[in-house]
Amino acid sequence: MSYQAKGLQAWFFQRVTGLFMACYTLYVLWLVLSTEVVSYQIWLAWFSHPLMNAATGLFFIQLAVHAWVGMRDIVLDYMTNDTLRFLTLTFISFFLIMSSLETIRTLFLLSVNV
């Protein structure tokens, strides 16, 4: 998504990602609550399962997209200075991209190691 990110696209992405994340969160919540003791081994088994691993990767990518649209909205609403706007948006996108990459790297290592 570009800095310009068209209105409709951004709005649509935010809703779709929100829906996916809600489903994922409910599923993980159910998983945790329905398991008596969540040990590291069990946790590892969950997240190294290919489907769960992929879904988690997707979750964090969608989280980044969702957060980007939300943060961009806040910046567009409250920040009027163009330079400050540009710097803030650059920092936010850098942070979101780096943290997403790191999460995906972790998930990938998890799936390879087991």
Binding site: K6, G7, L8, R72
Partner: protein
Amino acid sequence: MRFKIYRFNPETDTAPYTKEYELSDIEPGTMLRDALLRIKNEQDESLSFRHSCGEGVCGSDGMNINGKNGLACVTAVETLKQPIIINPLPGMPVIRDLVIDMTQFYTQYRVAKPWLIVNDPVPEIEFTQTPEQRDKLDGLYECILCGCCSTSCPSFWWNPDKFMGPAALLQSWRFLSDSRDQATDERLEDLEGPYKLFRCHSIMNCVDVCPKQLNPTKAIGEIKKLMLKKML
């Protein structure tokens, strides 16, 4: 009955201030506009505010009454908590006392192109519509452009030059849903981008304050739905 009214005369005052007034012998059913007129006639003729029809049709006397935007002429004073605090509609430049400069509001209204755009030859006698097609305009055409909604919208406060505001967007949807209009694609194209339409975050202050009980948030949602339909 006590009133606290925002006062500012740019010719004599350096800063706005609040002035207190007291009225007695208020008759039952007195509207705020009548009370303000009494204050103006009996106590302080320098008090300025817009008003005209006195029955919620012209939309001239929009003001902030006890923290909520509304029309003075259809607000009964006995329903209000005392002291009644009256301010001009928020977020707009004040010309004097309760009179605000509505230029920004009207500029955004113009952006909505509030007229029928017809490319086909205009029919000789009249445009015809079925009752069902006409029904779609109910809840949209009644807007009196008082400005209560747009001036209560935080998104409009932050970006009044870029975000169209609920009143103008209600009109956008009024013409998008008109069976006689032929510029749907152009109108939707006009609304694209992060500002004009998509600064709306469904805060719904507009619905809360509208003196005609209209629902701009719903209209904005319908525009988004139509855009999405066209995109997919």
